[in-house]
């Protein structure tokens, strides 16, 4: 029997190319290369051919089989790629639909600021001290150079529990408690953030409960220049490296000399704006620890000096997040809180 190898190859390749699906391709493959396929059958005839025809026939048949196998494999790959492309096209989604929501928690803005303050001072070698909010009058006032009839008690109307026990009006009593616990070891180097209370009505800038952070360094040779430098470093880390600070004379019974520390306003960079007015913002009340306070704390003012400062955390928070009403900090409206993810 005479085989038209050229014709056969053309037909087979046309069928392979014409297969549109993997199933069709498989049909074609079986028709030619399957156990009963055209090519397989042709090869089976090989033994029956005269010996002189066998080599030529075998070469033709094997070449055809090899060529077809390759063609089928190529076509299969093509079909698979097409099918995947089609499937992916079908799976396309509207990418603008919202993602599955994660339940978002948040940290209170005031505590965020408190954490930032702590981080800065921890970096400068300070530890975080704590003291009771319900405090003895003695620690809150007397030990801080504010006897019963001292005029500066006027400015701090206190909430009393008994004659001798009150809600602390400032974080400064922690100074005394820390010194008494530490004496005579040096240095005393702490900050003390916490709640304080005064007999104030609640309005956009006042509250009977608010927050301060106290700072205290007692050591040999501590100076007012160190105080300024320390708070300058703090202000620069908090507000940015361009921040400048200045000390203005002030008065606190438990520090002397006393000062207000102003920092250039972070909102306008010190040019003056509606928040700061002059370009400067009061940041801390501060001063050199009064010798009598050192003595109460158990230190000899001839041997050591110290500085102390106090800052309003609520104010820092309001400034940082541009909050204009203090009451928002205590209302706990989740529409407010959840802005601080």
């Amino acid at each position: 029997m005479e085989w038209d190898w050229v014709r056969l190859r053309q037909d087979a390749e046309a069928e392979v190319a014409g297969a549109a699906t993997r199933a069709e391709l498989e049909e074609v493959r079986i028709r030619y290369l399957g156990r009963k396929g055209v090519v397989t059958r042709a090869l089976a005839q090989l033994g029956r051919l005269p010996p002189e025809e066998r080599p030529e026939f075998g070469r033709q048949a094997n070449s055809l089989r090899q060529g077809l196998e390759e063609a089928v494999a190529r076509r299969r790959e093509e079909i698979e790629r097409e099918e995947e492309t089609r499937r992916l096209r079908e799976e396309a989604v509207d990418v603008t639909l919202p993602g599955v929501p994660v339940r978002r928690g948040s940290l209170h803005p005031l505590y965020r600021v408190a954490e930032e303050v702590k981080r800065i001072f921890l970096g400068m070698g300070y530890r975080v001290a704590e003291g009771p909010e319900v405090e003895y009058d003695w620690y809150n006032f007397e030990a801080l150079n504010i006897p019963r009839d001292h005029p500066s008690r006027d400015a701090q109307e206190s909430l009393y529990i008994t004659d001798d026990i009150l809600l602390r009006t400032q974080t400064s009593p922690v100074q005394i408690r820390v010194m008494q616990a530490m004496a005579p070891r040096l240095p005393v180097k702490v900050i003390a953030p916490g709640k304080v209370y005064r007999r104030d009505t609640v309005d956009p800038t006042h509250s009977f409960m608010f927050h301060q952070v106290e700072g205290l360094l007692v050591d040999r040779g501590v100076t007012m220049a160190d105080l300024k430098g320390t708070l300058e470093e703090f202000a620069r880390q908090l507000y940015g490296p361009e921040t400048r600070v200045r000390l203005r004379p002030s008065y606190f019974p438990f520090t002397e000399p006393s000062a207000e520390l102003d920092a250039t306003c972070p909102l306008c960079g010190g040019k003056g704006c509606s928040t700061c007015g002059s370009g400067w913002l009061e940041m801390a009340g501060c001063g050199m620890v009064h010798p009598r306070v050192l003595e109460v704390g158990g230190y000899d003012p001839e041997e050591v000096t110290g500085f102390a400062f106090g800052m309003g955390l609520d104010r820092l928070t309001m400034l940082k997040y541009r909050i204009t009403d203090l009451r928002l900090l205590f209302q706990n409206d989740v529409r407010f809180l959840e802005q601080f993810i």
């Binding site: 940290l107 505590y111 530890r127 050591d219 430098g229 002030s250 529409r335």
Partner: protein, 816 residues
Amino acid sequence: MRVPMAWLREYVDIPWDAGELAERLTWAGLKVESVEEVGEELAGLVAARILEIRPHPRSPGLWLCRLEDGEAVRQVVTGAPGLAAGQVVAYARPGGVLPGGRRLGRERFGGELSEGMMLAATELVLGEEHREGEGVLVLPAEVTPGTDLVRYFPLRDTVLELELTVNYATHCQSILGVAREVASLTGGRVRLPAVFARDYQPGLPAGEDAHGEAARITSVRVEDGDLCPRYTALVLEDVRPAFSPVPVQFRLHAAGMRPLSAVVDVTNYVMLELGQPLHAFDLDRLEERRIVVRRAREGERLRTLDGRDRELDGEMLVIADAVRPVALAGVMGGEETEVTPATRRVLMEAAWFHPVSVRRTSRRLGLRTGAAARFEKGIDPAAVLAASRRACSLLEEMGVARLVSGSVDVRPSGYGARQASLRPARVGAVLGLDIPESEIAGALGRLGFGVDTTGGESWRVTVPTWRADVVGEIDLIEEVARLHGYQRIPSTLPTGSPATGYLTREQRLTARAREILAAAGLAEALTFSLIAPDAFDRLGLGGDDPRRRALTVRNPLSVEWSVLRTSLLPGLLACLAHNQAHRVPRAGLFEVSAVYLPGELPPRELPSERLYAAAAAYGPWRDPHWRGDSPEVDYFLLKGVVEYLLDALGVGPVEFTPSGEPFLHPGRQARITCGEHLLGVVGELHPRVARAYELQGRVAAWELDFSTVLALATEDRRYRPLPRYPAVTRDVAFMLADHIPAARAEEVIRRHGGALLESLRLFDVFRGEGILPGHRSLAYSLVYRSPDKTLTDREVDEVHAGVRRALEVELGATLR
């Protein structure tokens, strides 16, 4: 403290304008709060000559006046009596503006045109209706009509408003005090009124001086010298009722005080000027015309100048006459002895009262007066009598009284300049900058301190009597610092003993807990530590519930915030209610903060401030979403948060057992324990409590004693090797009576699963078809694994069969 610049300039030369002066004073520690122009609005106030005056043709009691005001001849209708042609009077032209902004125009009275207005001093100075008995202000006849009165008197000034700190209030509550500060900045000298300078007595011993006419007319006895170290009296005769000259009235007004009568005005004027409070008594209304300074007696009363009856107590110092109190020492005079138009003789009191005594009286009676504000900060004892003489001489100059000779001066204590020592080296050591010794001495000298530097390392410094605030070396260092300039202090960083900053374990874990709760989807809240007393009722706590033992603020501003919380939940629930009231669809809050647990009540010791953690939530756990809605907050959602928190803090094993909190749903609450430690509770809010807080829908909450949690927490984490052999999973489903908690079943499964049971997970709870009433079906997935070999089916089957059998035998479960 208000300081009119023109007044200040009488005392000291000022090379600066108001703005620069304010700046320099602020930097020296006298904070200038504002700079205000007084009298800026005034216009059209001039001198005018009366050309003619005749009765109003139709209105009896009114006159028609023709005036020449330098610009025009005008007609004014007036009711003022006693005017005559030829007089020069104060006049506001039509279009003129009075203090406070009132603009004058043209009007008709009884058909007659009236242009502008003739003015009494009160109208001119305050812009207010003239006082009783006060007529039109008549000027000296030589004043030219048209003269601008604002310049003539003057009636315009720049006023600095000082916000004085407590220490500077001792010596800066007067024009003189501020002038001294200005002089220390300029290096100039203070000009004192001649009388004051002559009678200023830098130091005097204790004793009594009574001489001259004054001593014959009156006497002073100080019974309580501890509260009154010095009391002086001068006597004025031939007193006649009068108003002060316009310049005096204007200065009082500019400084923030009201002009009254000449005698009272002068006492105020001198107090503002020199810082010495004075009081004028009507001498003839003092019983036996004498003064006794003593503590009030029980039951004594006094009607003070403000017309109020005051009950006095034995700690208050009073000025009495022979029989009764007539003034509160250093605070306010009494009505019965005040100076009136009928007064003919005045006893002028100038004294030095004890600061604390004045302060106590003033506070107890709620009477804050200029006198009290000065006495309670400490006045200059050397200026007492000199200031009194200055006042009397002013009254003589005004022609309203005559000072009799002599004085009474009783001094239970002496006074004089005090000494302090200063080591100049200490200045630099405290401030951190080098100031040459000459500059230190110079600064103190300019502030009026006497400096004796012969000691070398330690100087003797004489403190002027007006500086009651300066006691020790550190006060002197502060004086040097502020005069040298705080701006000149450099910035350095401390170079002392080494120190490391770190957080304690509790601080670290608390911060971690807050981050975990935020990560769990809750918003951190910050609530007030004070709650309302009815909070415990709202929670429905029993009468003997320990949480009712709470501290109460004695003097709260509002009862809403008067009790120190013993639980965080009332605060959080109120916040949830706030959110619901604002139609916030879902809220989940947490707080980690202190509660205040008292020991005995009333307390003698401080309460225990324990750190608690709490959470409360309502609404869908997530916002509604197109992929399906979220579960609503319930017991299990908040239990999951607690489990996450405790797990993350390494606290366990934790058990949840049914509990009986009155404020929680009786069937949906659990006590949280770890071993024998009670950690807290979790549950859904009792509907009754939800109603009490006006909360709608399911609310779930938990509260933990976080101090206990912290004690049990561990940061230890040990690596467990990853499994090397495959696991075999077997499910078991069974029907169990409702009264047997799932935790029992789990315990049975674990016990019988033994070492091969790696984990178990409840994946279905089912009631309904095929399940007996009072029962539910539980389905668990159990994972078996051995750490050292691949388990065969047979090995697993054997253990699993044991688990199934045990559920049947021990719990009466029906396997499904």
